[in-house]
Every structure is written in structure tokens, then in C-alpha cells.
């Protein structure tokens, strides 16, 4: 498509053979320009992935032992269950919190919408470690939240907000919320306001217009945001390790522990492969409905 455009712009290569030769050279040059980037990803990602997949089937020869363990041993099952449960809850909360934010940013006057977006993007650009630390300060036993709640008299004893699943969920929602808002906003921004006005002028109540016109048009953004948050959450490590206090074990922590504590590469690689298959399957299914670039655009 681009190649024909190039030929049209080149009067002096209008001859068919010359054009063919030109195109061939052009392809070769483009692949050459592509090669350093592809090489880096190939050596540092694709080769190790192939090796991991190989390891997961290996225990003194070909074996399904590691996979059997995942599907029979309680600790593995439980970890995957916890990982998926946390990811579902986080995705749902992020949608409930992110949709109104994105909606506000898309309908407010420019100055206000810039402010809203800035408040979304600033945490996005702050180190995950900084945010994990902040949540530890806020949520710990004598932390800001507990002290204020005690002070107001809403509770009698400090709540256990951190070093557990609740703390993990709160901090994870905070970290992943921008990944929900940004694709949502990108979609909503493109919804023509004429449509909303048309809906209103035809006698629809604002709620009706929102439900029948705006919301359906924003669904591709909802899908992109939910996919991104869910998939990122499946692979989360730093936040559950720090804020969860190591007690809420997610799939990625299982991989890390098997390697660093037990040097059990077989188990680690089998867990990795199952996790990777889940992630790729989700991306594959969703990419049939929404282009991959749109989902990853916010990342």
C-alpha cells in the first residue's frame, strides 16, 4: 500500500523492472533498519521464552510432571485462583473509578479536563516503589487512614489494611487506574458531541442519551482498559510483595520464589508458561475486537 505510493512519487523509476528492483532494495533496506530492534528482542526475550517452554516439559527427559503439579497441588491452584480473583476485583474497581474520571475529562471545558488528566498522569509517571511506600505509610496500623478513622471515632481499633489482600487490592487499583482512564478517555474524546446533542434534541433525557448513545460508543475503550488492567494485574509482583507483605501470593511471586528460594526452574517455567498462555489468549481474543495498538497505547 505504501510501496505503490512511493513508486508514484518516483517518476524516474516508472519502468516496471526498475520498479521491481527498487521495491526489492527498499524491502531489504527496511528489514535492515528493523534488524537491531528485532535482534535485541529476539536474543533477550524470544530465545529465553523458547528455553522456558522447553524447561517446563523437562524432568530427566520429556515429562508433564511440572504441569501435573500445577493442576493437582493445592498451593499452585490456590495461587492462580488468588491471582485471578484479585485481577477481577481490581479491574472492576478500576472501571468503576476510571469511567467517571474519563467521562468528566471528555465533557469538561478544556482547562478543567487538562487538570483532571494531569492528576491521572502524574501518579502514572511516579515510580511504583514510591507509590507502594506511600500506601504502606497510609494504610499501616498506626498509619494516616487508621489514625484519622480512630480520631473521628468511626472505629475503636485499627483496621488491618496492609500486609494482606485488601492492601494489595487498594495499592494495585491505584497503580493501574491510569491504565484504565487513558484508553477510555482516548475513546470518549472521539465520540462526536453532535451525536449527544442530536440525542438530546430528539427528546432523550440526559441519562437516556448517555445509556443509548454515549455508553455504547465508549465500549471499545472499556474493553481496551479492562484488558490492559486485567493482564497487567495478572503479572503483578512488586506491589503484592511489598504491600501484601508476602502473604498474598500471586502467580508471579510463585515464579520468583521457585527460582530464588528453591532453584526449581521446572516449576517456575511451568507456572510462567501457564501465565503467559492466559495473557496471550486474552490479548488474542480481545485483539479480534479492538486493535492491539489501541490496547497497548496507554502503556
Amino acid at each position: 500500500m505504501k510501496a505503490t505510493a512511493i513508486n508514484n512519487n518516483y517518476p524516474h523509476v516508472s519502468h516496471r523492472d526498475a520498479s521491481l528492483g527498487y521495491r526489492r532494495r527498499e524491502h531489504a533496506l527496511m528489514l535492515l533498519l528493523m534488524s537491531p530492534a528485532v535482534l535485541v528482542v529476539f536474543v533477550l526475550l524470544l530465545i529465553p521464552l523458547g528455553w522456558l517452554i522447553g524447561q517446563s516439559f523437562y524432568a530427566d527427559g520429556f515429562s508433564l510432571e511440572h504441569y501435573q503439579r500445577i493442576f493437582t497441588e493445592g498451593i499452585y491452584w490456590n495461587t492462580f485462583w488468588v491471582t485471578f480473583r484479585i485481577s477481577f476485583i481490581v479491574t472492576l474497581l478500576a472501571l468503576l473509578m476510571g469511567y467517571p474520571i474519563a467521562y468528566a475529562a471528555s465533557i469538561l471545558p478544556r482547562r478543567w479536563s487538562m487538570l483532571v488528566l494531569a492528576l491521572v498522569i502524574l501518579p502514572f509517571w511516579t515510580s511504583v516503589l514510591v507509590r507502594a511506600y506511600a500506601w504502606l505509610i497510609l494504610l499501616q496500623r498506626s498509619g494516616v487512614v487508621n489514625e484519622s478513622l480512630l480520631g473521628v471515632g468511626l472505629i475503636d481499633a485499627p483496621l488491618a489494611l496492609v500486609h494482606n489482600e485488601l492492601g494489595t487490592i487498594i495499592a494495585t487499583v491505584h497503580i493501574l487506574l491510569p491504565f484504565m482512564v487513558l484508553p477510555l478517555y482516548a475513546t470518549m474524546q472521539k465520540i462526536p458531541s453532535d451525536l449527544i446533542q442530536a440525542g438530546a434534541s430528539l427528546g432523550g433525557t440526559p441519562l437516556h442519551v448517555f445509556m443509548r448513545v454515549f455508553f455504547p460508543l465508549s465500549l471499545s475503550g472499556v474493553l481496551a482498559g479492562m484488558t490492559l488492567v486485567f493482564v497487567l494485574c495478572l503479572g503483578f509482583y512488586i506491589t503484592p510483595e511489598l504491600v501484601g507483605g508476602g502473604r498474598t501470593v500471586m502467580a508471579s511471586m510463585l515464579v520468583s520464589r521457585n527460582i530464588q528460594l528453591y532453584s526449581d526452574w521446572g516449576a517456575a517455567s511451568a507456572v510462567s508458561v501457564v501465565l503467559l498462555i492466559c495473557v496471550l489468549a486474552i490479548f488474542y481474543v480481545v485483539s479480534r475486537l479492538v486493535p492491539l495498538e489501541k490496547i497497548l497505547g496507554a502503556k
Partner: protein
């Protein structure tokens, strides 16, 4: 409209609450870092710079900060040209291979980071790159490439390629035509890509946890270990500095975007 105002007020209130949820954790760290107390208290009892002094006087923290800066600068310097070349190729070629190579280049974003870390650890253990600075840089280059490529591809989409064609038909070779005609016009998106690469390398924790060690630990890895073991207020000082650095870079980004594009 009157009936609406109640729901409108509750909507605004809800949005404000979520925004406070988003921004509060960033604001809480700053007063903590200026506290005089060893224990976490908010608001802090008295003002002091002692945690900043601890940070700047501790050779361990300083060497970690140096490693982080070296790695982040090198990553931006390497990932940007490689990424620009790839983005140029993606934008100019309709070769059937490109579709697949494009997906390959997005993989560092798609594959869960723990799996990336495990894989890089394995390949470095084989090649003796474990616990080295070049090892850290190359891993960060891989992770930064998708950001650079995405940013620059967007820039190239908004650029009229025929300008480069004109320069070439007037006798410039392709490289010179790119450098003197195309590059200056897509500069804001190239800068955006470079800043993305820098921040990503500065922030990267997961892969570094696996492949860095000894003298060559970046700041994030030291912070992670410190946070896991005990809550040391020095972290608040470092966090404040890091947050300030991020804000400065975002500002730079906004300024880079502001530059007029053709």
C-alpha cells in the same frame, strides 16, 4: 436542569474523591521526607533535612543512584536510534514480514514482566552478563523499545513523507535526507520516545531484581530491599526526589510536544 443538579453534584463529588485517591499518596510522601522522627507519623512533629543528608552521605545509596543514572542515560541513548530506525521501517514498508516483526517488537509490553525477568536472568547467566551494567542497559533497551517505536511511529504518521522524497529527488542521499528533512520535523516525538526510555529505565525494578547485584545495584533494587526489610524514612527522601524528577520530565515532555510540528 434543576432536577439534574443533585446528580451532577454527586457526580462531581465522586470524581473529586477518585482524584484525591489518585494524588494523595504522592503528596503524603513529601512531608514524611522532611520529618525529624524516625517513626512514621503524619503530620510530622518537626521539620528536618536529616533523611536527605542520610541519603547523600551514604555511599551505598549514592553508588546506587549513580548506577541508575548511568543506566537510564545509556538506555535512552541506545534505544532511541534503534527505535527510530525501526519506526521508520514500520512506517515505510508493506513487506509481509513487517506485520509479524511489529508484534515481536510489542512483545516486551505483552509478556508479563516476571517472565521477561526470568528469561533475561537465564540468558545472562549463560553469557556471563549477570550483575553487569551493560547487562542492565541492554535489558532496559529491550523494555524501552516499544515506547520509543510507538512514539516515533505516531510522529511519522503526522509527517508528510513526500518532503523526504523531494529532498532525495534533488540529489540528497537517503540518510542525509532523513537527517536534514524528516528528523527535525519529527523531533518532538523522538524526544518523547527518548524521555519514555529514560523514565522506564530509571523506574525498572523487576528485571533489575533478577539481574543486578553487588556494586551494580540500581536505586530501585536497593529501595525494594529496604522497603521489604524495614520502613526507613530515607526512602521518603528518595521518593520525593524521584517524584520531583518525574514531574520535571513530564514538564519537559509537555514542552517537547508544544514545539510546532509541520
Amino acid at each position: 436542569m434543576n432536577k439534574l443538579s443533585l446528580s451532577r453534584i454527586s457526580f462531581i463529588g465522586y470524581v473529586a474523591l477518585v482524584l484525591i485517591f489518585l494524588i494523595l499518596p504522592l503528596l503524603i510522601v513529601v512531608p514524611m521526607s522532611f520529618s525529624d522522627s524516625r517513626f512514621l507519623s503524619f503530620p510530622p512533629s518537626s521539620f528536618s533535612f536529616r533523611w536527605y543528608e542520610t541519603f547523600f552521605n551514604n555511599p551505598g545509596w549514592m553508588s546506587a543512584a549513580k548506577t541508575s543514572l548511568i543506566v537510564a542515560f545509556s538506555t535512552a541513548l541506545i534505544a532511541t536510534p534503534i527505535g527510530v530506525a525501526a519506526a521508520y521501517a514500520i512506517n515505510n514498508s508493506s513487506h509481509w514480514l513487517m506485520r509479524y516483526l511489529k508484534i515481536v517488537l510489542l512483545l516486551p509490553l505483552i509478556v508479563p514482566i516476571i517472565i521477561v525477568a526470568t528469561g533475561v536472568f537465564f540468558i545472562y547467566a549463560l553469557s556471563g552478563m549477570l550483575y553487569t551494567i551493560p547487562g542492565l542497559i541492554m535489558a532496559d533497551v529491550m523494555l524501552a523499545l516499544p515506547y520509543v517505536i510507538t512514539a516515533v511511529t505516531a510522529g511519522l504518521h503526522g509527517f508528510d513523507q513526500t518532503q523526504e522524497m523531494v529532498a532525495r529527488s534533488l540529489g540528497m542521499n537517503r540518510f542525509r535526507a532523513f537527517m536534514s528533512v524528516t528528523l527535525p520535523q519529527i523531533m518532538p516525538s523522538v524526544m518523547t520516545g527518548a524521555i519514555f526510555a529514560f523514565i522506564q529505565a530509571l523506574d525498572e525494578t523487576m528485571v533489575a531484581l533478577f539481574i543486578s547485584g553487588g556494586q551494580n545495584q540500581p536505586l530501585t533494587v536497593r529501595m525494594f530491599t529496604a522497603l521489604r526489610d524495614e520502613i526507613d524514612p530515607t526512602i521518603a527522601a528518595i521518593s520525593t526526589l524521584l517524584t520531583a524528577a518525574s514531574f520535571a520530565l513530564v514538564l519537559l515532555l509537555v514542552l517537547a510536544r508544544r514545539q510546532p510540528t509541520a
